[in-house]
């Protein structure tokens, strides 16, 4: 279990993590979600004690990570940035890390086979492709048979087969009763694997909820509308107290007003409609909805 309490990290003037309080429970996959730059990777480094919090604290199974006798048995981590000496072979990399914990050599071979690196285990890690590097990172994370597995964007650089494999792996780890904490900025990816979600934006906690509750809370009935007469329709919808998001292709995403009402209002004012489609917000839209305004770099044009 990971427990953060008012965790805060500043880099100079920049507040990367801002008073985060959350717990990550064992036995399920917890997704850690947030837009780019929202502080996910920073939070994970804070968990491992690689960076020191400016304020607050984070513990793993009741203690700060560094105070455990066998830290690799507590947490196995895959970090965002590559953490391998480019001149050392994958096998020697794993061996050296295993030796710090007295882990037998056979374990290293076991993991090399598990992640599918047997053909290249003797090659220098600097020559690895992105996906191979990612597999080595996952082998490193699993080395100590950890109670908690923490992976920062593990599907990065993996091919579709690799992505499937990771999903199955994560679910398997959780089924074994481990704590599984996985970051992503893709809601759709999380919906495939996670049971629970911790969502942050600009370093702050936005949601800590089950995937199902998250979607129910965030999703609204939306109506997609296309019209050549944008300004008239915008006015009509505003009178009905609806809100509109204009997509890049000019389509309206209308929330708060039903399709029938929009149709009637348009007919009453003679506004031509090319499309009028009710639909439920996808998970991705729910995520964007909830993190809107918390985006570090926003490209959206929002019309009220």
């Amino acid at each position: 279990m990971i427990a953060a309490h008012l965790l805060t990290k500043d880099y100079g003037d920049k507040r990367a993590v801002d008073g985060l309080t959350f717990e990550v429970q064992p036995g399920i996959v917890t997704g850690f979600l947030g837009p780019n730059g929202s502080g996910k990777s920073t939070t994970m480094r804070l968990v491992l004690g690689l960076d020191r919090p400016t304020a607050g604290e984070v513990t793993v199974n009741g203690k700060p990570y560094a105070e455990h006798d066998a830290p690799l048995r507590e947490v196995g981590a895959l970090l965002e940035a590559r953490s391998v000496h480019t001149g050392r072979s994958a096998r020697n990399h794993l061996r050296a890390l295993a030796q710090t914990h007295g882990i037998a050599r056979a374990r290293v071979q076991e993991l090399i086979d598990l992640v599918g690196l047997h053909d290249v285990a003797g090659k220098r890690a600097g020559k690895f492709s992105l996906g191979m590097g990612q597999r080595l990172g996952i082998a490193t994370a699993l080395l100590g048979d950890p109670a908690t597995v923490m992976l920062d964007e593990p599907v990065n650089g993996l091919d579709p087969e690799g992505i499937q494999w990771i999903r199955a792996l994560l679910r398997g780890l959780a089924a074994e009763g481990r704590t599984v904490f996985v970051s992503s900025h893709l809601m759709s990816e999380m919906s495939m694997t996670a049971d629970h979600l911790i969502v942050i934006g600009r370093g702050r906690l936005i949601a800590d909820t089950s995937v199902r509750a998250f979607v129910a809370a965030a999703s609204k009935d939306l109506v997609r509308v296309r019209t050549p007469d944008a300004s008239a329709l915008l006015e009509a919808i505003a009178r009905l107290d609806g809100s509109v998001r204009v997509e890049p292709d000019g389509t309206f995403e209308v929330a708060g007003v039903g399709a029938e009402e929009i149709g009637r209002a348009a007919a009453a004012q003679g506004i031509v409609l090319f499309e009028l489609t009710p639909h439920e917000a996808s998970l991705e839209e729910a995520f964007m909805e909830i993190t809107r305004g918390e985006l570090e770099y926003s490209h959206e044009e929002v019309v009220a």
Binding site: L50, D69, A70, H85, T86, H93, T100, H101, G102
Partner: protein, 270 residues
């Protein structure tokens, strides 16, 4: 294969001895180690033999004064003095290589208490330097002296101060190893670390020569490299420290560098 195989024998705790084993593995599994140590060994043995052969072949044409002031220990230990470059660069790399590649994050995740890593790096590299340089310097000494002996211009092992100076040359390199590991930990970057090492050992001493001579003689003996060299010199005058005093000061500099590296490692974000 969804589940990972459970570790048959559970992972045991991190101990200093295990971290030493890990650092030993790391040390020998990158190329820069083998190259640097090969260079250091070749320089340590090769230069003295080469120098002795040249001196020996020109002995007949030397002036009586040159012959009288010739110190047979100079060619014997010249190689080890040049080899300190390779040792020092490797010492910096042992630490800075982890930062430049990102390996440090894996290392400190495995050993989050951090300091055992630095002690292990300094210990492993210091011990390897001793184990490798002791035979190399001894070979350099006996080979060069046997070449020079035909002109009666050699020292025996039992000549006063010779054993101390020869062993001192080995210990000097061990201190360079530890000191540069400390420098690497302070600067974290290969360029910064090597520049600092070069500045201390190869730039600072000649700069002293342009200072007023009273300053020069007041400061020079206490510079790290000069203090360390006291133990390598057969005789010492008023301008140098006594052999073991100088060596002790040199070792103290190394301890300070390592302590500074420890503070940086402990305090700064990885």
């Amino acid at each position: 294969m969804t589940a990972i195989p459970v570790l048959a024998a559970p992972a045991r705790g991190v101990t200093q001895a295990r971290v030493v084993r890990s650092e030993w593995t790391k040390f020998w599994t990158v190329r820069s180690t083998r190259w640097s140590l090969l260079v250091a060994t070749v320089l340590t043995i090769g230069f003295p033999i080469l120098a002795s052969v040249i001196i020996s072949s020109h002995w007949g044409s030397q002036s009586p004064h040159d012959r009288a002031t010739f110190n047979p220990l100079d060619p014997a230990l010249i190689g080890s003095q040049i080899a300190q470059l390779a040792i020092g660069v490797l010492g910096v790399l042992v630490v800075s290589g982890e930062y430049s590649t990102g390996m440090i994050r894996a290392t400190l995740t495995a050993v989050p208490k951090r300091l055992p890593v630095l002690w292990a790096k300094a210990g492993v590299f210091g011990a390897v330097t001793f184990a490798l340089m002791l035979p190399s310097v001894l070979i350099a000494f006996f080979a060069s002296q046997s070449i020079l002996s035909r002109h009666d211009a050699s020292y025996s092992w039992h000549h006063a101060g010779v054993a101390r100076a020869v062993i001192g040359a080995v210990l000097y390199l061990v201190v360079v190893a530890v000191l540069t590991v400390g420098i690497g930990a302070v600067f974290r970057s290969t360029a910064g670390g090597i520049a600092t090492f070069a500045a201390i050992f190869f730039v600072l001493p000649p700069i002293m020569n342009v200072l007023p001579s009273s300053w020069n003689s007041a400061i020079s003996p206490y510079l790290p490299s000069e203090a360390g060299r006291a133990v390598i010199q057969l005789t010492h005058d008023s301008g140098t420290l006594a052999p073991w005093t100088g060596f002790g000061l040199f070792a103290l500099y190394a301890a300070i560098a390592l302590a500074a590296g420890a503070v940086v490692l402990k305090v700064r974000d990885a």
